[in-house]
């Protein structure tokens, strides 16, 4: 391991930007705020590029110890940073996409009153996310983990005066917390049994251990608990419910945090912990199952959504499911590859959606859009590229990464994973092209209801204060270049970003990180692949078919025969209702967990303990003091003789005591 003195700059620079904007932003001009935010974020990106150019696989991994932190007997944890190929990829994705989204937000949030706050929070998020990916031990990662949860809460509830936004922020934070609890228990187990949280030291201790086949054991427990944390952070079943609600936040937030970076922290964590997971196959199977189920489950919900951001939200959940499926079958580098391409095209899709929303003056309901390709050509083209990428159309980024996952799922996992993955790919393509047709195709359906406040139930309303209400017109328009430039760059990356995976170059690059599989796994991996070139090509053909099939169906239902969807929905009846209402999962959680918790808190803890015991104790002791003193008051009558009487009685008691002590 070689030291690298520049590593610590990468998280600290955005932190400095956040501090400056946070403390001084209120009095500063918007230009100053913008300059600070972009400079520090850009500087972090520049340092990241600098380090990347000088990165050498022989010298890797790099590290840097910033300061001591905890010392307790043999256990110690420091503020240390770590850079290997995996964190290099993550770091570049986070700083690069993050910087582009910062530029975009300048345009999107310019007219908001809380502009300085937004920029400060975004920089703060960058700091925490970079701490997470550059951490050298699990505790530093946990700082970043919690910190991005905090930043997410602050940014989702950015328009905090709106009830729904504040509730969404709370929901995100609370559900994340449940996952964090699992993460913490895993940390405790690691500390107890291995005595360290430092990645190199910890993995060196775990490396010699064998595979736990019985389905139970320490590493399985740790793995499952880590997965709980990942499920919370990366919105997998059963803790995904916060991510659709998180769309209450401004669109750049959705792009950065809930598409490109924060939600991928879970995948990164699982990939980082691959040493543990490789030796706990039952935990790994759980990861794969959760990922696969989430992928198809969220995709089905996405079919029926009418809010453009909600479609993308469920799409994110589904794509994250793909990444976990990849990790679950042991193809960690495939999962990271998809993470990277997903950051490109999902970030692009969200930013483009934001451009659309901005262009139509705040409307988010796709039923009131349409025909926007004439008004917003650049947005249309870039979003189209993003859609092609996510659908897995050959040649673009999503095709390479998704196909890699599907192949690995088949060859290292089971054909069940592959089948579900293909079906999900079909559905993905379908709903993405549905989005495209509804938004950009046909004729513009909005406009007349533009000025009414009833326009959508998602309450974008007055909170979307980036000034298009001030435009005061009914016609959609293209966004300013400050918002379009990141779209173009991300579109370019969505096209070429997958090409580095051709020929297994990406996997080869990440190989030194993931080379620690126990001996049995290695044999399995190399033995299976050579004979199945034909199968691989066949399966690739199937997935291409699925992608185009989804496109065709979307074209059918939303472009050529637009009356079909309503008839199909009526025909399916209750099933459609269930899908449209997200399978009533939120309602189920409310009944199972939220309501009992709130009722229990109200009845037992509030009325019972807080009011009945604590308040009662304090109040009653005051009442008791008052009543006692009310009685004792009568002793102070002002009458000299009664005082003398008490003195005499007291003296008698003292004498009696002394006599008694003398006798004893």
């Amino acid at each position: 391991m070689t030291p690298n003195p520049y590593l610590w700059l990468i998280p600290i620079l955005p932190l400095a930007g956040a501090a400056i904007n946070g403390f001084f932003g209120r009095q500063s001009s918007k230009r100053a705020i913008t300059a600070v935010a972009l400079t520090f974020c850009g500087a972090a990106f520049a340092v990241a590029l600098f380090i990347a150019f000088r990165f050498s696989s022989e010298a890797a991994p790099y590290y840097f110890d910033l300061a001591h932190w905890l010392r307790s007997g043999d256990f110690h944890v420091d503020f240390s940073f770590y850079l290997d190929q995996l964190s290099l990829v993550m770091m570049l994705v986070v700083t690069g996409v993050g910087f582009l989204i910062h530029i975009y937000s300048v345009g999107y949030m310019w007219d908001d009153d809380g502009y300085y706050r937004f920029m400060a929070y975004m920089n703060l998020f960058m700091f925490f996310m970079l701490t997470l990916v550059l951490a050298k031990n699990y505790l530093m990662m946990f700082i970043g983990w919690e910190g991005v949860g905090l930043a997410s809460y602050l940014l989702i509830g950015f328009w905090f005066l709106k009830d729904s936004a504040a509730s969404a922020g709370k929901k995100a934070f609370i559900v994340n917390r449940i996952g964090d609890f699992g993460f913490l228990i895993a940390l405790f187990l690691m500390i107890k049994h291995f005595g360290t949280l430092d990645f190199p030291a910890l993995f060196a201790k775990i490396q010699p251990l064998g595979v736990e086949t019985a389905g139970a054991g320490l590493l399985t427990a740790i793995g499952l608990l880590l997965m709980v944390g990942a499920a919370g952070k990366s919105a997998q079943i059963p803790l995904y419910v916060w991510l659709p609600d998180a769309m209450e936040g401004p669109t750049p937030v959705s792009a950065l945090i809930h598409a490109a970076t924060m939600v991928t922290a879970g995948v990164y964590m699982v990939a980082r912990s691959h040493v543990i997971f490789e030796r706990a196959p039952s935990a790994l199977t759980v990861v794969a199952i959760i990922g696969t189920l989430t992928a198809i489950f969220a995709a089905t919900i996405g079919i029926a959504q009418t809010d453009i951001k909600k479609v993308l939200a469920y799409s994110t959940v589904s794509q994250l499911g793909y990444m976990f499926m990849a990790c679950g079958v042991g193809a960690f580098s495939a999962g990271i590859f998809h993470l990277m391409t997903h950051a490109f095209f999902k970030g692009l899709l969200f930013l483009a959606a934001g451009s659309v929303i901005h262009g139509v003056g705040g409307e988010q309901d796709m039923r009131k859009m349409g025909g926007l390709r004439r008004y917003m050509p650049i947005t249309f083209i870039t979003m189209g590229i993003g859609t092609l990428a996510i659908a897995g159309i050959p040649g673009l980024a999503g095709f390479f990464s998704k196909d890699e996952i599907l192949w690995k799922a088949y060859s290292q996992g089971s054909w069940v994973y592959w089948l579900i993955g293909v079906i999900t790919a079909f559905i993905t393509s379908f709903y993405m092209f549905r989005l495209m047709y509804m938004t950009f195709g046909g004729d513009y359906r909005g406009g007349s209801e533009h000025y009414e406040h009833s326009h959508n139930s998602h309450g974008h309303g007055h909170g979307d204060a980036h000034g298009h209400d001030a435009h005061g017109h009914g016609e959609p328009h293209e966004s300013p270049w400050v918002m379009l430039a990141p779209l173009v760059i991300l579109a370019f990356l969505s096209v070429v970003g997958g090409w580095i995976g051709i020929g297994g170059r990406f996997e080869h690059f990440l190989a030194p990180v993931f080379q620690s599989a126990p001996a049995a796994e290695l044999a399995h991996e190399t033995g299976g692949e050579g004979a199945n070139q034909f199968t691989e090509k066949l399966l690739m053909g199937v997935s291409i078919l699925a992608a185009f099939g989804g496109w065709f169906f979307a074209y059918l239902l939303y472009s050529s025969k637009p009356q079909l969807p309503a008839r199909i929905a009526r025909a399916l009846g209750g099933l459609y209702e269930a899908v449209a209402h997200k399978y009533y999962i939120d309602e189920l959680y409310a009944v199972l967990f939220v309501k009992p918790l709130i009722d229990g808190s109200t009845e037992i803890l509030w009325h019972g303990v807080d009011q009945g015991v604590i308040d009662a104790t304090v109040n009653n002791s005051a009442v008791a003091a008052r009543e006692v003193s009310d009685e004792v008051r009568h002793m102070q009558s002002g009458n000299l003789r009664s005082y003398a009487g008490w003195v005499a009685a007291g003296g008698a008691c003292v004498i009696a005591y002394m006599v008694w002590m003398g006798i004893r």
């Binding site: 003789r641 009664s642 003398a644 005499a648 003296g651 008698a652 009696a656 006599v659 003398g662």
Partner: protein, 196 residues
């Protein structure tokens, strides 16, 4: 033997005087009984050989303090006590308390107090010895008590003087303090003794 008889004789006088103090209703009678008690105590001191103390007892206690009491009684024309509503606490709690304490002490002394005996005239020392002790080991308390007496004099003068006298002194130096007017004229200080 003689010692015991004399002790019992003077002790009886003492006891009688004390009881009489409690029983009498007019304060002047109580004062006179107190004088009797002090005189008999002086005799007891003599029996123990503390001549100087006995002399001082008569001169200071009986001669000065009791005279002070009698003067005050006459000055204020104190009459026999009226029976007003007293304090239940004092009677119900204080008296039994005091009696219990007394009984306990007496019992302890008589059954367990294995102290010695004193002989008649047992105390050594002449007034010169006392004086020497007073001005050597007990010089500091001696001086402090003289300060104490000074303070007592000043206090007594201030407390007992009339309010107008103080007011007059104030008007000589600065603006008069608005002292409250006396509601009734002060009673006749030179008693005509009509209420005795």
């Amino acid at each position: 033997m003689l010692h015991l008889i004399l002790f019992l004789f003077f002790g009886a006088i003492c006891v009688a005087g004390a009881v009489n103090l409690l029983v009498q209703s007019h304060p002047i009678n109580s004062a006179l009984s107190l004088i009797v008690v002090m005189a008999s105590l002086a005799a007891e001191y003599l029996l123990l050989g503390a001549e100087f103390v006995a002399a001082v007892q008569v001169i200071v206690y009986a001669g000065a303090i009791m005279v002070l009491f009698v003067i005050t009684i006459m000055l204020l024309n104190a009459g026999a006590e009226q029976h007003t509503k007293g304090s239940r606490v004092a009677i119900l709690i204080g008296v039994p308390g005091a009696l219990i304490g007394a009984v306990l002490v007496a019992w302890t002394l008589l059954t367990r107090g294995h102290t010695g005996s004193v002989a008649m005239g047992a105390l050594p020392g002449s007034p010169q010895d006392i004086a020497r002790l007073l001005f050597h080991e007990f010089l500091l308390p001696f001086e402090i008590t003289s300060v104490l007496i000074l303070i007592a004099i000043m206090g007594a003068v201030v407390l007992a003087s009339r309010p107008e006298a103080i007011a007059r002194r104030h008007t000589e130096s600065h603006q008069p303090d608005p002292l409250p007017q006396e509601r009734q004229p002060a009673p006749q200080l030179v008693g005509s003794g009509k209420e005795h």
